[in-house]
Amino acid sequence: MSITAVTQAIPVQEIGEIFDVTRLGEYTQFTVVAPGVAAGFRPGQFVAIAVGGPDTSMLLRRSFALYGVKPGGDFAGTIQFVVAEHGRGTEWLVRQQIGTKLDLVGPLGVPFPLPREASPAVLVGGGYGTAPLLPLAEALLAQGSDIELILGAATGSRLFGELPAKRLIGQVTVTTDDGSAGQRGWVTDPLPSAIERLGAQIVYACGPMGMLRAVGEVAAAHAIPAQVAVEESMACGIGVCMSCVLPVRGSDGTSKFVRSCVEGPVFEAGRVRWADVGTLPADLLGADAMGGR
């Protein structure tokens, strides 16, 4: 199956006003007026947000996958993203109210590549990793592709996007580790039968690294590609700090540390060396120059 890279807009930095804040289980969903970010958005891209206000002691931006983007029309363009509280930056963010101004940079990163023509696809979301899959599902449906969606989380309160996904697709499969919602188990349990039922030619996924690796393995076993969006922590989001790197095998067979913010966050799962994340594999380009350091 041929897939095609999607053209990317140049990111902008803009001040956006919070238009809506909604609690969804353990998550907080923000809708922000951000016409510049909204204008160039493609599914899979993210926004990097400054946290803590003007005199913040937190210098690093927090990055969130975008969904629910409405380009400008009669009203100014808006973006949506969902925040899980797990540190001082996200704690600050979830306390912000309607009307608060946020400093945004986006849209950032490589979007999900789309099939050149309608192709059956399975989409797999872990936790709030479902967020970028919603606009992707819309784009695939608009192409006339048949799709199935599998959502998973550790527990029911950490599921995200079940309702909008059902509205979009009609039916979704849900798994939880503890069985508190949907079927007990992992997203990879119902994945093989979904691929087979649909005759899927591609799998898309976003979620924690372990899940992406497992999804990639299931896709590989079915000899189809998996395009996955990683959730690496990033300091800048624009490709200058070099902190969000992953070991990735290139088309020439050479492996390199590549920046997940600008060369990702979407990667072909088979190219990411999941087992080597957090190490320095000896065959990585330039690893030989690190001796004695």
Binding site: L59, G286, A289, M290
Partner: protein, 331 residues
């Protein structure tokens, strides 16, 4: 209007705000947010002879008003830099200050020679690297080793290109290291590099960074940096200094200039605000104007003057520039 032009040795700059090495890659990403030809110069990420993978992740940890990083000088190596990054900067009209790093003196020399015929506005020699020939002792922490590198680079490099030595604050007497590199032929000094730090991850109960220790940067280190600029300017008042360390606003930049810096580099703040270099240049101009300075140059090292010397400077300014008619009209 404030005259924002300044100079670093023989390098004339339209304004005194540069990027800091390692925080702007080679300019291309930031050009999406502002025109990189409009800032003082782009200081590129330290380049070495060979491609380097850098260290394993995690590579950064946020700290109060700062961050700790152990990137490990990931880079493409000099061949790729000369083929791609440097021509891109030239094509976009940016002044390129090239930062070079080495693990032994010969590596610095090789880099200086390779850059000899290329469009380089200035060389910044990153000597905060472990010297493999001396049990990994950091060059910048040993005045003799630092001087040896600088004198070798000075001999090998294009004589028309100024050479700045970038010093580490992790020394007992920074003025002593500064003197050593100036005597060895440096045309000026960049200060400061990051401070060595360590963060423990309380979930894993292990160091948070893959490289164990890391370099601390950001506003948290600013007073250390201003102190270093102050001490080196006091010891070597005629030596041009490029000041850096935690600059986030035009006010911060002004502190460095008053302490003795001829220009400043902004680094970590770029991760927070990719438009920061141009913003800081604008803010600095307003801060200078608000204090009665007509140029950057007259503010360099101004904090070293006594308050009566400062008062005399401004009194002389009023005597020579007071326009008769306007002032009388407002009285």
């Amino acid at each position: 209007m404030v005259d924002m032009s300044t100079a670093l040795s023989t390098l004339e700059l339209p304004n005194p705000v540069l990027t800091a090495s390692g925080c702007a890659a080679a300019g291309e990403e930031l050009n999406q947010f502002f025109d990189v030809s409009e800032i003082g110069a782009v200081v590129t990420k330290s380049i070495m002879t060979r491609a380097r993978s850098g260290r394993p992740t995690p590579r950064m940890a946020e700290t109060p008003s700062g961050m700790l990083n152990s990137i490990g000088l990931q880079g493409p190596g000099i061949d790729s830099f000369l083929a791609n990054e440097l021509p891109w900067l030239k094509a976009h009209g940016a002044r390129a200050v090239v930062s070079i790093a080495g693990s032994h003196t010969d590596e610095y020399v090789t880099l200086a020679k390779r850059l000899y015929h290329h469009p380089v506005a200035m060389l910044e020699v990153n000597i905060s690297c472990p010297n493999v020939e001396n049990r990994g002792q950091v060059f910048a922490c040993d005045p003799l080793a630092a001087a040896r590198v600088i004198s070798a680079v000075r001999r090998a490099a294009n004589p028309n290109v100024p050479i700045f030595a970038k010093l580490s604050p992790d020394v007992t007497d920074i003025a002593q290291v500064a003197r050593a590199v100036i005597e060895a032929g440096a045309d000026g000094i960049s200060l400061i590099n990051t401070l060595l730090g360590l963060v423990i991850d309380l979930d894993t109960l292990r160091p948070a960074l893959g490289g164990v220790t890391g370099g601390l940067s950001g506003p948290a280190i600013r007073p250390v940096a201003v102190r270093c600029v102050w001490q080196v300017h006091q010891a070597l008042p005629s030596v041009p200094l490029l000041g850096m360390g935690g600059i986030k606003t035009g006010r911060d930049a002004l502190e460095f200039i008053l302490a003795g810096a001829s220009a400043v580099s902004v680094g970590t703040v770029i991760f927070h605000d990719p438009s920061a270099p141009m913003r800081i240049a604008r803010e600095l101009e307003a801060e200078l104007a608000a204090r009665g300075f007509q140029s950057v140059r007259e503010a360099i090292g101004f904090a070293h003057r006594t308050s009566s010397e400062q008062a005399e400077f401004f009194a002389a300014r009023i005597a020579t520039t007071q326009p008769d008619v306007d002032m009388e009209a407002t009285v």
